[in-house]
Amino acid sequence: MRTLVLAIALAAFWLALSGHYTPFLISVGILCVLITVLVAQRMNIVDKEGQPIELFAAAPAYWLWLFIEIAKSAWSVTRVILDPRLPISPTFTKVRASQKTAAGMATYANSITLTPGTITTGVTGDVFEVHALVKGNADDLEAGGMDRRVSQFEGTATAASERKV
């Protein structure tokens, strides 16, 4: 199933990037897709972590939410930069990630980093070390709003199938 999705995605990617639909280029494309899928399978990376198809359906809604968060915090960082007093208060903090799968935790860590004003600098078990530009950003993360949203995103995807503990 995952292999099939990977093959279809790769084939679509090839067709989209190439833009030339001659028999020769298409057959070369099919060959490339087959080789890539074979290598990926031999490397054992076509699994729940490398190809999280469960997350695909819920992804657009999450991305939209994340983009709005990014826009809001990018604006607040912009205001800090343009403020003549440069009112920064760099803070290091720790937050606990409540996600259950590796893909979910990676999503959370990357979402923190993507949001301007916070960067995940380290992961120990399920505790993230986060550097924040202003104290308020650290407070928001500690309150756990984003953590819950990511868990919800992960939960809608894994509720049906078994959950990795």
Binding site: F13, I81, P90, F92, S111, A143
Partner: protein
């Protein structure tokens, strides 16, 4: 029709440029490597997104627009990886961050999932 597309795309490209310039200004103003990374993240998230969206409107419904979407996706998946690697490298090299407050000793109780958000307030 052409005019409308132009107006929309410029309404995206000009704010995008504004955020790029602000991010660059932030890079110069911030005091240390970690705070500079925060300024840079304004560039590669909001700035780049607005620019690329503006270019997509210019491209219309073509393969070029699709490729621009790929560029955006690439930025969003590799940007945080690069930022994270940079921050880790700086920490490993013992670059001391300028801190107003260090909460790394904070107690994050290893209770059941979701306990980190005990303050219960849907921030956003």
């Amino acid at each position: 029709m052409e005019v409308i597309a132009d107006v929309i795309s410029w309404c995206l490209i000009v704010p995008g440029c504004f955020f790029l310039v602000t991010g660059a200004l932030g890079l110069l103003r911030m005091p240390d490597v970690y705070t500079r990374m925060h300024a840079a993240s304004v560039i590669d998230t909001l700035g780049a997104t607005l620019l690329v969206l503006g270019l997509i409107v210019q491209a219309g419904l073509t393969l070029v627009a699709l490729k621009l979407v790929f560029v955006l996706a690439l930025l969003f998946f590799f940007g945080p990886v690069a930022s994270h690697a940079l921050a880790q490298a700086a920490l490993h090299a013992d670059v001391k961050p300028i801190l107003a407050e260090d909460r790394r000793g904070r107690d994050v109780d290893p209770g059941p999932a979701g306990s980190a958000g005990s303050k219960e307030e849907p921030s956003s």
